[in-house]
Subunit: 323 residues, 2 copies
């Protein structure tokens, strides 16, 4: 029976990739930033950063991405060009005259997991008012990157016909805008959240319990990101853990979570499907794309890879998990 | 091809369980203790503890176990009876007249991962001189539970014909008896070690790098235990991670690592095989047995389960990892 089940599952998964309908575009709204990153080995300034940026680049391997964000006049045009070269539609990227781009400076501890924010200048992102270009309002796959829950809901108001909305959030909003966050959770399909955030939101140290508790707050599914330990998935009928892809080369973990979400959502939009089987494969793609993201500063490693590299790692990942 | 590979792999795995040769006995040498455990929820005194004990009980689901350890006159006979009832051969359990059993008292932090040793009384274990009963000296599968490397090697001297030796170690021996530990590592086939210990031994925060570095110190394979995050395997040709089985019910993590090793080694001895395919399945059994171990104080939860429960969890685990 397990053998038969495996065969059936494989056939389904094969038919999905062979008969996949046209990929759907994917909308992301979130931060676009300039990062200065210090690790025990090196320091790099002026990196292309921000959650929407890492998300967009990761998702661009799977489908067309529409990016909504804001930058200042100091934003280097080559950053926009890099995104455009990946097919990311940047017509929703507003530039504020006389404004400065959101800038984050941080330092990673030797474990490359814990980090200290040395300087955070929200600049134009502090006044961000996400107004979607008309053509984006019919997009059916939407990702609300980490941001003020009220603004995330404002985006939702502009995409009434969307089919799948997934959001991210962080400690700041759990602590400062709890009521708004609760409202948001009731309007989204999925929440992607860090392990520490899940524990805080669910008020428990047990991640399995946390995942289910957060799911009961509204979303149909919850994904808990565990960094180097992979990710967990929770829906009404499923609970599972998928390990990270083991890599010796961790250069800069910044944006790993957003890359994960980008890979996951990109695959779902590409497949135009979010049934349980597709969601699980999407989780795996998210994990693999994130494993490349951490292998270089900012988006440097991502610029070196192709879809073939991701597929190659997928073969190794499937082999790793089968026994 | 992946489908075909899956079918072939499955057929092999089926043939292994159907055609498995007679299970081999498994020898374990290590601590037998009385534990007093405090968690945020409860406190329990006088628990049957010790690494060799948790190992033996876990392995007893798979094969016959030979236990070598030492206790004092205060050792409750019902503890020995419990092990005997599982088919564990306790004829190698020495009792020191007038001595007291090794006693450990510890408290777990709310995250149930970090713990504080409140009191450690080595007692008779401090003078432990492992002398194997004659009939144990021909045992081919051997586990050296955490202990002084010199004593672990003394055991090895007594089992010259063993086919598979796996050892555990800890920070104390890395720091205090480094040279002996290095000698030990060159004499064993496998090392099972915690993540923090691996990092210390390999002098790196990256676990993938740590696994390979420790392997280069001698053992043919290294297993890094990551607690709630599962375990990693390293050999010359393989690197993989297997997640823990997600459980909401973490009552007492004491002995989880030893249960893991017991499940793993028990399966290898049962199969009388330690090729890569069998090792991977053994890792999974170790993870599953450990997931039961943490669901109760001491060995309480383990006493409630049967082989069917482990197999049931294996079906769920395989399903969790397939996509």
């Amino acid at each position: 029976m397990p053998l038969l089940a495996t065969i059936i599952a494989r056939c389904f998964s094969l038919s999905f990739s062979l008969l996949a309908p046209a990929a759907m575009p994917l909308l992301v709204v979130g931060s676009v930033a300039i990062d200065n990153v210090e690790t025990p080995q090196a320091r790099r300034d002026g990196l292309l950063g921000g959650s929407a940026t890492h998300f967009s680049y990761a998702a661009s391997f799977f489908t067309d991405v529409q990016l909504v964000g804001v930058v200042g006049e100091d934003w280097p045009p080559q950053h926009t060009e890099l995104l455009s070269s990946r097919g990311v539609d940047t017509s929703g990227l507003q530039t504020v005259r006389g404004g400065k781009t959101f800038t984050w400076t941080g330092r990673y501890e030797p474990n490359m997991n814990d980090r200290v924010s040395l300087d955070t200048q929200l600049n134009v992102f502090g006044e961000f008012d996400p107004v979607l270009p008309e053509k984006y309002k019919r997009t059916e796959y939407v990702f609300l990157a980490n941001g003020v829950p009220a603004l995330q809901m404002k985006v939702l108001d502009q995409v009434p016909g969307c089919r799948l909305v997934v959001a991210d959030t962080m400690e700041l909003w759990i602590q400062n805008t709890y009521d708004d966050l609760m409202k948001l959770l009731k309007r989204i399909d999925g929440l992607v959240i860090n392990d520490s955030e899940a524990k805080m939101l669910a008020e428990t140290e047990n991640l399995v319990l946390a995942g289910h508790r957060v799911r009961e707050m509204g979303p149909r599914f919850v994904v808990i990101k565990k960094g180097e330990h992979g990710a967990m998935f929770f829906s009404e009928h499923e609970t599972y853990v998928m390990p990270a892809f083991p890599t010796e080369k961790v250069i800069d973990p910044t944006g790993a979570g957003d890359s994960f979400a980008g890979g996951m959502m990109g695959y779902l939009a590409q497949q135009n499907n979010f049934d349980p089987v597709t969601l699980k494969t999407a989780m795996a793609y998210g994990i693999l794309v994130a494993s490349f993201n951490v292998e270089g500063f900012g988006l440097e490693r991502m610029q070196q890879i192709s879809c073939d590299d991701i597929e190659g790692r997928m073969v190794a990942y499937r082999r790793m998990l089968s026994f």
